[in-house]
Protein backbone atom coordinates (compact mmCIF):
# COMPACT_ATOMS: atom_id res chain seq x y z
CA UNK A 1 0.00 0.00 0.00
CA UNK A 2 1.26 3.45 -0.89
CA UNK A 3 1.93 5.90 1.90
CA UNK A 4 0.34 9.34 1.63
CA UNK A 5 3.31 10.92 -0.13
CA UNK A 6 3.60 8.11 -2.65
CA UNK A 7 -0.13 8.29 -3.18
CA UNK A 8 0.01 12.05 -3.79
CA UNK A 9 2.81 11.66 -6.31
CA UNK A 10 0.89 8.96 -8.17
CA UNK A 11 -2.26 11.09 -8.16
CA UNK A 12 -0.32 13.98 -9.67
CA UNK A 13 0.83 11.69 -12.46
CA UNK A 14 -2.72 10.43 -12.97
CA UNK A 15 -4.10 13.95 -13.25
CA UNK A 16 -1.36 14.96 -15.67
CA UNK A 17 -2.09 12.04 -18.01
CA UNK A 18 -5.86 12.51 -17.70
CA UNK A 19 -5.40 16.14 -18.73
CA UNK A 20 -3.38 15.13 -21.79
CA UNK A 21 -5.92 12.51 -22.84
CA UNK A 22 -8.84 14.75 -21.90
CA UNK A 23 -10.67 12.22 -19.80
CA UNK A 24 -12.54 13.38 -16.70
CA UNK A 25 -10.97 12.60 -13.33
CA UNK A 26 -10.99 13.80 -9.75
CA UNK A 27 -8.96 13.41 -6.58
CA UNK A 28 -10.14 13.52 -3.00
CA UNK A 29 -8.94 14.84 0.33
CA UNK A 30 -10.19 14.06 3.79
CA UNK A 31 -9.87 16.71 6.49
CA UNK A 32 -10.66 16.35 10.17
CA UNK A 33 -10.42 19.18 12.71
CA UNK A 34 -11.12 19.02 16.42
CA UNK A 35 -11.71 22.06 18.62
CA UNK A 36 -12.79 22.68 22.18
CA UNK A 37 -15.37 25.48 22.32
CA UNK A 38 -16.01 27.37 25.56
CA UNK A 39 -19.66 26.53 25.19
CA UNK A 40 -20.97 23.53 23.32
CA UNK A 41 -23.03 24.32 20.23
CA UNK A 42 -26.61 23.14 20.29
CA UNK A 43 -27.78 24.35 16.92
CA UNK A 44 -26.51 24.86 13.39
CA UNK A 45 -26.49 28.59 14.10
CA UNK A 46 -24.28 28.03 17.14
CA UNK A 47 -21.82 26.23 14.91
CA UNK A 48 -21.92 28.98 12.30
CA UNK A 49 -21.20 31.52 15.03
CA UNK A 50 -18.22 29.53 16.22
CA UNK A 51 -16.89 29.16 12.70
CA UNK A 52 -17.27 32.87 12.03
CA UNK A 53 -15.49 33.60 15.29
CA UNK A 54 -12.52 31.65 13.94
CA UNK A 55 -12.60 28.64 16.23
CA UNK A 56 -11.19 26.44 13.47
CA UNK A 57 -8.30 28.77 12.74
CA UNK A 58 -6.19 26.97 15.31
CA UNK A 59 -7.69 23.53 15.85
CA UNK A 60 -6.46 21.25 18.58
CA UNK A 61 -6.11 18.49 16.01
CA UNK A 62 -5.82 18.93 12.26
CA UNK A 63 -5.73 15.94 9.94
CA UNK A 64 -5.50 16.05 6.16
CA UNK A 65 -4.88 13.06 3.91
CA UNK A 66 -5.79 11.88 0.44
CA UNK A 67 -9.00 9.91 0.06
CA UNK A 68 -8.37 6.58 -1.50
CA UNK A 69 -11.61 4.99 -0.73
CA UNK A 70 -14.21 4.88 -3.49
CA UNK A 71 -16.00 1.60 -3.10
CA UNK A 72 -17.51 -0.88 -5.52
CA UNK A 73 -20.85 0.85 -4.94
CA UNK A 74 -19.40 4.11 -6.24
CA UNK A 75 -17.86 2.40 -9.25
CA UNK A 76 -21.08 0.59 -10.08
CA UNK A 77 -23.00 3.86 -9.89
CA UNK A 78 -20.54 5.25 -12.43
CA UNK A 79 -21.06 2.22 -14.65
CA UNK A 80 -24.83 2.62 -14.46
CA UNK A 81 -24.81 6.29 -15.23
CA UNK A 82 -21.85 7.09 -17.40
CA UNK A 83 -21.58 3.81 -19.31
CA UNK A 84 -25.36 3.38 -19.61
CA UNK A 85 -25.52 -0.11 -18.16
CA UNK A 86 -28.53 -1.64 -16.42
CA UNK A 87 -28.21 -3.55 -13.18
CA UNK A 88 -27.20 -7.12 -13.83
CA UNK A 89 -29.30 -8.54 -11.00
CA UNK A 90 -29.57 -8.59 -7.25
CA UNK A 91 -28.30 -12.07 -6.53
CA UNK A 92 -24.61 -11.33 -6.07
CA UNK A 93 -22.56 -8.27 -5.21
CA UNK A 94 -19.04 -8.50 -6.58
CA UNK A 95 -16.92 -8.77 -9.70
CA UNK A 96 -18.98 -8.78 -12.86
CA UNK A 97 -22.17 -7.65 -11.17
CA UNK A 98 -23.54 -4.13 -11.57
CA UNK A 99 -25.68 -3.29 -8.56
CA UNK A 100 -25.29 -1.76 -5.10
CA UNK A 101 -25.29 -3.19 -1.62
CA UNK A 102 -26.69 -0.98 1.12
CA UNK A 103 -25.67 -0.70 4.75
CA UNK A 104 -28.17 -3.41 5.68
CA UNK A 105 -26.66 -5.90 3.23
CA UNK A 106 -29.53 -5.63 0.81
CA UNK A 107 -28.48 -5.77 -2.84
CA UNK A 108 -30.30 -3.29 -5.03
CA UNK A 109 -30.88 -2.99 -8.75
CA UNK A 110 -31.13 0.16 -10.82
CA UNK A 111 -31.16 3.27 -8.69
CA UNK A 112 -33.95 5.73 -9.33
CA UNK A 113 -34.57 9.43 -9.42
CA UNK A 114 -31.05 10.72 -9.36
CA UNK A 115 -32.38 13.97 -10.73
CA UNK A 116 -33.92 14.68 -7.34
CA UNK A 117 -30.98 13.77 -5.21
CA UNK A 118 -28.91 16.90 -5.35
CA UNK A 119 -28.71 16.88 -1.61
CA UNK A 120 -28.29 13.20 -1.09
CA UNK A 121 -25.28 13.73 1.13
CA UNK A 122 -27.14 16.27 3.25
CA UNK A 123 -28.52 14.16 6.03
CA UNK A 124 -30.66 16.16 8.41
CA UNK A 125 -29.73 17.11 11.95
CA UNK A 126 -29.92 13.61 13.25
CA UNK A 127 -28.47 10.46 11.87
CA UNK A 128 -30.77 9.20 9.15
CA UNK A 129 -28.15 6.84 7.89
CA UNK A 130 -26.57 8.85 5.11
CA UNK A 131 -24.27 11.77 4.48
CA UNK A 132 -20.87 11.86 6.15
CA UNK A 133 -20.55 9.11 8.77
CA UNK A 134 -18.00 8.51 11.47
CA UNK A 135 -17.01 5.41 13.35
CA UNK A 136 -14.50 3.82 15.67
CA UNK A 137 -13.66 0.82 13.51
CA UNK A 138 -10.12 0.54 12.29
CA UNK A 139 -10.39 -2.41 9.92
CA UNK A 140 -8.48 -1.43 6.78
CA UNK A 141 -10.35 0.01 3.84
CA UNK A 142 -11.62 -2.39 1.26
CA UNK A 143 -13.08 -1.86 -2.17
CA UNK A 144 -15.90 -4.09 -0.93
CA UNK A 145 -16.84 -1.92 2.04
CA UNK A 146 -20.59 -1.44 2.20
CA UNK A 147 -20.96 -0.21 5.76
CA UNK A 148 -19.00 1.39 8.55
CA UNK A 149 -16.91 -0.96 10.62
CA UNK A 150 -18.20 0.39 13.95
CA UNK A 151 -20.46 3.38 13.47
CA UNK A 152 -20.71 6.00 16.20
CA UNK A 153 -24.39 6.36 17.04
CA UNK A 154 -26.16 9.71 17.21
CA UNK A 155 -26.89 10.78 20.78
CA UNK A 156 -25.44 11.86 24.11
CA UNK A 157 -24.93 8.43 25.65
CA UNK A 158 -21.67 6.64 26.20
CA UNK A 159 -19.77 6.30 22.94
CA UNK A 160 -22.27 8.47 21.09
CA UNK A 161 -21.90 11.81 19.33
CA UNK A 162 -24.40 14.28 18.02
CA UNK A 163 -24.68 14.40 14.24
CA UNK A 164 -25.36 17.86 12.87
CA UNK A 165 -26.75 18.33 9.38
CA UNK A 166 -24.46 17.83 6.45
CA UNK A 167 -23.65 21.24 5.11
CA UNK A 168 -24.60 22.12 1.58
CA UNK A 169 -21.69 21.12 -0.59
CA UNK A 170 -19.49 24.08 -1.40
CA UNK A 171 -18.88 23.87 -5.13
CA UNK A 172 -16.40 26.33 -6.59
CA UNK A 173 -14.69 26.94 -9.92
CA UNK A 174 -11.17 28.26 -10.33
CA UNK A 175 -10.91 30.01 -13.68
CA UNK A 176 -7.12 30.08 -13.49
CA UNK A 177 -6.60 26.36 -13.04
CA UNK A 178 -9.89 25.46 -14.72
CA UNK A 179 -10.67 23.05 -11.89
CA UNK A 180 -13.75 22.42 -9.83
CA UNK A 181 -13.58 21.85 -6.11
CA UNK A 182 -16.41 20.53 -3.97
CA UNK A 183 -16.30 20.37 -0.22
CA UNK A 184 -18.81 18.26 1.69
CA UNK A 185 -18.81 19.01 5.38
CA UNK A 186 -20.36 17.79 8.61
CA UNK A 187 -20.01 18.63 12.31
CA UNK A 188 -20.30 16.31 15.29
CA UNK A 189 -20.14 17.04 19.02
CA UNK A 190 -19.23 14.82 21.89
CA UNK A 191 -21.75 15.34 24.69
CA UNK A 192 -21.03 11.98 26.23
CA UNK A 193 -19.04 11.60 29.39
CA UNK A 194 -15.87 10.25 27.87
CA UNK A 195 -13.44 10.51 25.02
CA UNK A 196 -14.33 8.86 21.72
CA UNK A 197 -11.76 7.78 19.16
CA UNK A 198 -12.80 8.46 15.60
CA UNK A 199 -11.01 6.04 13.33
CA UNK A 200 -13.08 5.86 10.14
CA UNK A 201 -15.01 8.24 7.92
CA UNK A 202 -17.64 7.21 5.43
CA UNK A 203 -19.73 8.88 2.78
CA UNK A 204 -23.17 7.48 2.23
CA UNK A 205 -25.41 8.28 -0.70
CA UNK A 206 -29.18 8.30 -0.40
CA UNK A 207 -31.60 7.27 -3.08
CA UNK A 208 -35.30 6.70 -3.09
CA UNK A 209 -36.54 3.25 -2.12
CA UNK A 210 -34.66 3.74 1.15
CA UNK A 211 -31.29 3.00 -0.35
CA UNK A 212 -28.40 4.21 1.76
CA UNK A 213 -25.22 3.22 0.01
CA UNK A 214 -21.70 3.71 1.27
CA UNK A 215 -19.68 5.06 -1.65
CA UNK A 216 -16.48 5.86 0.24
CA UNK A 217 -14.87 4.74 3.47
CA UNK A 218 -11.51 5.93 4.78
CA UNK A 219 -9.61 4.71 7.79
CA UNK A 220 -7.57 7.49 9.38
CA UNK A 221 -3.82 7.11 9.69
CA UNK A 222 -4.29 7.11 13.46
CA UNK A 223 -7.53 7.38 15.45
CA UNK A 224 -8.44 10.91 16.52
CA UNK A 225 -9.51 11.27 20.14
CA UNK A 226 -12.49 13.59 20.61
CA UNK A 227 -12.79 14.47 24.28
CA UNK A 228 -16.00 15.28 26.07
CA UNK A 229 -17.31 18.70 25.03
CA UNK A 230 -15.27 18.85 21.88
CA UNK A 231 -16.46 19.62 18.38
CA UNK A 232 -15.23 17.76 15.30
CA UNK A 233 -15.52 18.86 11.69
CA UNK A 234 -15.10 16.48 8.77
CA UNK A 235 -14.38 17.79 5.27
CA UNK A 236 -14.66 15.55 2.27
CA UNK A 237 -13.16 17.51 -0.62
CA UNK A 238 -12.92 16.60 -4.26
CA UNK A 239 -10.96 18.42 -6.93
CA UNK A 240 -11.47 17.83 -10.63
CA UNK A 241 -8.84 17.48 -13.30
CA UNK A 242 -8.33 20.71 -15.27
CA UNK A 243 -11.16 21.13 -17.74
CA UNK A 244 -10.04 21.47 -21.36
CA UNK A 245 -10.28 24.97 -22.76
Amino acid sequence: MLDDLQYEKAVEEYMEIAAILEVPAARGFLGVDVVQPHRMPETEQDIDNLVHAGIFDHPKIHYLAPCRSWTRNAYNLFTYTLCGVNATGIGTFGDGHINTQDQYDIIRGNPNACEYVEDVYNAYGVDYGYGIRIGTGSTGESFEDTKMDARIQHGDGAGQMRYFADRDGILSWNGGTRKWTCKLQRYFTNHSEGSISVAEIGLCEWFDKGMNVIVARDVLGAPIAVAEHELIRVNFTQESVAFPS
Binding site: T81, G84, V85, G96, N110, F243, P244
Partner: protein, 235 residues
Protein backbone atom coordinates in the same frame (compact mmCIF):
# COMPACT_ATOMS: atom_id res chain seq x y z
CA UNK B 1 -7.54 20.42 -32.54
CA UNK B 2 -7.86 18.48 -29.29
CA UNK B 3 -5.25 16.25 -27.66
CA UNK B 4 -2.26 18.19 -28.87
CA UNK B 5 -0.15 16.43 -26.23
CA UNK B 6 -0.70 13.06 -27.90
CA UNK B 7 2.03 12.36 -30.44
CA UNK B 8 0.70 9.16 -32.03
CA UNK B 9 -1.71 6.29 -31.51
CA UNK B 10 1.12 4.32 -29.88
CA UNK B 11 1.83 7.20 -27.51
CA UNK B 12 -1.86 7.46 -26.70
CA UNK B 13 -2.08 3.73 -25.99
CA UNK B 14 0.93 3.91 -23.68
CA UNK B 15 -0.66 6.79 -21.78
CA UNK B 16 -3.89 4.82 -21.41
CA UNK B 17 -1.94 1.77 -20.20
CA UNK B 18 -0.40 3.89 -17.47
CA UNK B 19 -3.68 5.60 -16.65
CA UNK B 20 -5.40 2.24 -16.22
CA UNK B 21 -2.62 1.01 -13.96
CA UNK B 22 -2.82 4.13 -11.80
CA UNK B 23 -6.62 4.08 -11.80
CA UNK B 24 -6.60 0.63 -10.23
CA UNK B 25 -3.89 1.51 -7.77
CA UNK B 26 -5.44 4.82 -6.68
CA UNK B 27 -9.09 3.86 -6.99
CA UNK B 28 -10.00 6.73 -9.28
CA UNK B 29 -12.84 5.82 -11.65
CA UNK B 30 -11.69 5.83 -15.27
CA UNK B 31 -14.09 5.55 -18.18
CA UNK B 32 -12.30 4.97 -21.45
CA UNK B 33 -14.13 5.91 -24.64
CA UNK B 34 -13.33 3.90 -27.77
CA UNK B 35 -14.48 4.39 -31.33
CA UNK B 36 -14.61 1.81 -34.10
CA UNK B 37 -15.98 2.52 -37.53
CA UNK B 38 -16.49 -0.16 -40.20
CA UNK B 39 -17.62 -0.07 -43.77
CA UNK B 40 -19.97 -2.86 -44.79
CA UNK B 41 -20.10 -3.75 -48.46
CA UNK B 42 -23.05 -5.11 -50.40
CA UNK B 43 -22.13 -8.67 -49.42
CA UNK B 44 -22.05 -7.82 -45.72
CA UNK B 45 -18.27 -7.92 -45.50
CA UNK B 46 -16.87 -5.55 -42.91
CA UNK B 47 -13.76 -3.42 -43.18
CA UNK B 48 -12.59 -1.71 -40.01
CA UNK B 49 -11.49 1.80 -40.96
CA UNK B 50 -11.21 3.53 -37.57
CA UNK B 51 -10.16 1.85 -34.33
CA UNK B 52 -8.91 4.17 -31.61
CA UNK B 53 -9.75 5.98 -28.41
CA UNK B 54 -12.13 8.88 -28.75
CA UNK B 55 -10.62 12.31 -28.26
CA UNK B 56 -13.85 14.00 -27.77
CA UNK B 57 -15.40 13.93 -24.30
CA UNK B 58 -17.51 17.03 -24.07
CA UNK B 59 -18.07 19.46 -21.23
CA UNK B 60 -21.35 17.62 -20.62
CA UNK B 61 -19.46 14.43 -19.80
CA UNK B 62 -16.95 16.23 -17.58
CA UNK B 63 -19.76 17.91 -15.68
CA UNK B 64 -21.62 14.65 -15.21
CA UNK B 65 -18.50 12.85 -14.02
CA UNK B 66 -17.74 15.42 -11.34
CA UNK B 67 -21.41 15.69 -10.39
CA UNK B 68 -21.47 11.96 -9.85
CA UNK B 69 -18.90 12.40 -7.08
CA UNK B 70 -20.52 15.26 -5.21
CA UNK B 71 -24.11 15.56 -6.47
CA UNK B 72 -24.08 19.32 -6.36
CA UNK B 73 -25.38 21.72 -8.98
CA UNK B 74 -24.19 25.26 -9.54
CA UNK B 75 -24.99 28.03 -11.97
CA UNK B 76 -27.74 29.04 -14.32
CA UNK B 77 -25.96 29.02 -17.66
CA UNK B 78 -23.83 26.59 -19.63
CA UNK B 79 -20.32 28.00 -19.22
CA UNK B 80 -17.13 27.90 -17.17
CA UNK B 81 -18.04 28.20 -13.51
CA UNK B 82 -21.38 26.47 -13.91
CA UNK B 83 -21.93 22.76 -14.15
CA UNK B 84 -25.03 22.99 -16.26
CA UNK B 85 -25.09 20.87 -19.39
CA UNK B 86 -26.32 21.61 -22.89
CA UNK B 87 -29.15 19.84 -24.67
CA UNK B 88 -28.59 19.03 -28.32
CA UNK B 89 -31.15 21.73 -29.09
CA UNK B 90 -28.89 24.32 -27.45
CA UNK B 91 -30.81 24.90 -24.22
CA UNK B 92 -29.05 24.47 -20.91
CA UNK B 93 -30.05 21.82 -18.39
CA UNK B 94 -29.29 21.02 -14.79
CA UNK B 95 -26.58 18.39 -14.69
CA UNK B 96 -28.83 16.36 -12.39
CA UNK B 97 -31.11 15.75 -15.34
CA UNK B 98 -28.56 13.27 -16.60
CA UNK B 99 -30.77 10.90 -14.71
CA UNK B 100 -30.83 7.30 -13.84
CA UNK B 101 -33.61 5.49 -15.56
CA UNK B 102 -35.05 2.12 -14.75
CA UNK B 103 -33.96 0.72 -18.08
CA UNK B 104 -31.17 2.59 -19.82
CA UNK B 105 -30.68 -0.10 -22.44
CA UNK B 106 -34.13 0.13 -23.97
CA UNK B 107 -34.93 1.99 -27.19
CA UNK B 108 -34.59 5.76 -26.87
CA UNK B 109 -33.20 5.75 -23.34
CA UNK B 110 -29.64 6.03 -22.18
CA UNK B 111 -27.31 5.76 -25.17
CA UNK B 112 -29.68 3.53 -27.10
CA UNK B 113 -31.94 4.54 -29.93
CA UNK B 114 -34.69 2.88 -31.88
CA UNK B 115 -34.73 2.54 -35.70
CA UNK B 116 -34.82 5.80 -37.57
CA UNK B 117 -34.61 7.94 -34.44
CA UNK B 118 -31.91 10.57 -34.72
CA UNK B 119 -32.43 12.37 -31.45
CA UNK B 120 -30.75 9.70 -29.33
CA UNK B 121 -27.88 7.25 -29.44
CA UNK B 122 -25.32 7.23 -32.24
CA UNK B 123 -25.84 9.77 -35.01
CA UNK B 124 -23.58 10.55 -37.98
CA UNK B 125 -22.96 13.58 -40.11
CA UNK B 126 -20.98 15.21 -42.87
CA UNK B 127 -19.57 18.11 -40.83
CA UNK B 128 -15.82 18.58 -40.94
CA UNK B 129 -15.24 21.07 -38.14
CA UNK B 130 -12.69 19.78 -35.62
CA UNK B 131 -13.91 18.51 -32.27
CA UNK B 132 -14.43 21.02 -29.49
CA UNK B 133 -14.88 20.59 -25.75
CA UNK B 134 -18.14 22.49 -26.11
CA UNK B 135 -19.63 20.34 -28.84
CA UNK B 136 -23.21 19.49 -27.97
CA UNK B 137 -24.73 18.39 -31.27
CA UNK B 138 -23.74 16.77 -34.57
CA UNK B 139 -22.56 19.49 -36.93
CA UNK B 140 -24.35 18.43 -40.14
CA UNK B 141 -26.63 15.53 -39.54
CA UNK B 142 -27.25 12.86 -42.17
CA UNK B 143 -31.01 12.47 -42.10
CA UNK B 144 -32.83 9.15 -41.92
CA UNK B 145 -34.27 7.98 -45.20
CA UNK B 146 -33.54 6.90 -48.74
CA UNK B 147 -33.54 10.32 -50.38
CA UNK B 148 -30.47 12.14 -51.65
CA UNK B 149 -27.84 12.45 -48.90
CA UNK B 150 -29.86 10.31 -46.49
CA UNK B 151 -29.12 6.99 -44.82
CA UNK B 152 -31.28 4.50 -42.99
CA UNK B 153 -30.53 4.27 -39.26
CA UNK B 154 -30.94 0.82 -37.70
CA UNK B 155 -32.17 -0.07 -34.24
CA UNK B 156 -29.50 -0.08 -31.53
CA UNK B 157 -31.26 -2.21 -28.91
CA UNK B 158 -30.08 -5.56 -30.21
CA UNK B 159 -26.67 -4.23 -31.23
CA UNK B 160 -25.35 -3.86 -27.70
CA UNK B 161 -22.67 -5.91 -26.09
CA UNK B 162 -21.57 -5.61 -22.49
CA UNK B 163 -19.79 -7.59 -19.87
CA UNK B 164 -17.09 -8.04 -17.31
CA UNK B 165 -13.52 -8.77 -18.30
CA UNK B 166 -11.86 -10.25 -15.26
CA UNK B 167 -8.38 -10.05 -16.70
CA UNK B 168 -8.65 -6.25 -16.76
CA UNK B 169 -10.62 -5.96 -14.74
CA UNK B 170 -13.15 -3.73 -16.43
CA UNK B 171 -16.80 -3.56 -17.35
CA UNK B 172 -17.59 -2.56 -20.91
CA UNK B 173 -20.63 -1.43 -22.83
CA UNK B 174 -20.39 -1.49 -26.62
CA UNK B 175 -23.05 0.33 -28.54
CA UNK B 176 -23.31 0.03 -32.30
CA UNK B 177 -25.47 1.48 -34.99
CA UNK B 178 -25.56 0.56 -38.66
CA UNK B 179 -26.52 3.20 -41.20
CA UNK B 180 -27.33 1.97 -44.71
CA UNK B 181 -27.02 4.04 -47.80
CA UNK B 182 -29.85 3.43 -50.22
CA UNK B 183 -29.91 6.98 -51.50
CA UNK B 184 -28.67 6.25 -54.98
CA UNK B 185 -25.38 8.11 -54.49
CA UNK B 186 -22.23 8.06 -52.40
CA UNK B 187 -22.21 9.82 -49.02
CA UNK B 188 -19.05 10.76 -47.11
CA UNK B 189 -19.38 10.43 -43.33
CA UNK B 190 -17.08 12.75 -41.41
CA UNK B 191 -18.39 12.83 -37.86
CA UNK B 192 -20.33 10.90 -35.26
CA UNK B 193 -21.83 11.67 -31.87
CA UNK B 194 -23.10 9.71 -28.92
CA UNK B 195 -26.18 11.16 -27.25
CA UNK B 196 -27.48 10.26 -23.80
CA UNK B 197 -31.20 10.48 -23.17
CA UNK B 198 -32.38 10.82 -19.58
CA UNK B 199 -36.01 10.54 -18.58
CA UNK B 200 -37.24 11.67 -21.98
CA UNK B 201 -36.21 13.67 -25.03
CA UNK B 202 -36.25 16.87 -22.99
CA UNK B 203 -32.99 15.61 -21.53
CA UNK B 204 -30.56 14.73 -24.30
CA UNK B 205 -26.84 15.27 -23.80
CA UNK B 206 -24.03 14.84 -26.30
CA UNK B 207 -21.16 13.18 -24.46
CA UNK B 208 -18.84 12.46 -27.41
CA UNK B 209 -18.39 13.99 -30.84
CA UNK B 210 -15.71 12.58 -33.10
CA UNK B 211 -14.47 14.09 -36.30
CA UNK B 212 -12.99 11.32 -38.44
CA UNK B 213 -9.41 11.85 -39.61
CA UNK B 214 -10.50 11.15 -43.15
CA UNK B 215 -14.06 10.96 -44.33
CA UNK B 216 -15.54 7.51 -44.89
CA UNK B 217 -17.18 7.28 -48.30
CA UNK B 218 -20.20 4.99 -48.26
CA UNK B 219 -21.37 4.05 -51.72
CA UNK B 220 -24.97 3.39 -52.62
CA UNK B 221 -25.88 -0.08 -51.35
CA UNK B 222 -23.17 -0.03 -48.68
CA UNK B 223 -23.45 0.62 -44.95
CA UNK B 224 -21.38 2.10 -42.16
CA UNK B 225 -21.27 0.74 -38.60
CA UNK B 226 -20.27 3.12 -35.82
CA UNK B 227 -19.37 1.47 -32.54
CA UNK B 228 -18.77 3.34 -29.28
CA UNK B 229 -17.44 1.48 -26.28
CA UNK B 230 -17.36 2.90 -22.76
CA UNK B 231 -15.10 0.92 -20.48
CA UNK B 232 -15.01 1.37 -16.72
CA UNK B 233 -11.75 0.23 -15.12
CA UNK B 234 -12.13 -1.51 -11.73
CA UNK B 235 -9.51 -1.95 -9.00
Amino acid sequence: MRHTGVRSIEHENRLYDRLRELSRQLKIPLIEPLLRVSKIDRDGKRELVIDRHCRSYTRNMYNVYFYQLNLKELGSTYADGSNRCKHRNGSSLDVGNFAYKNNVEAGNFGYISGPGVLGHGIVIGTGTTAESFDDYVIETVIAHGVGGGQMEYADMVAAQNEGWVGGGPYYFHEMERVMSNNSGGSITVNESVLYWCGLNSNYVFCVLRDKFGAGVAVADGESIAVNYELRQTYP
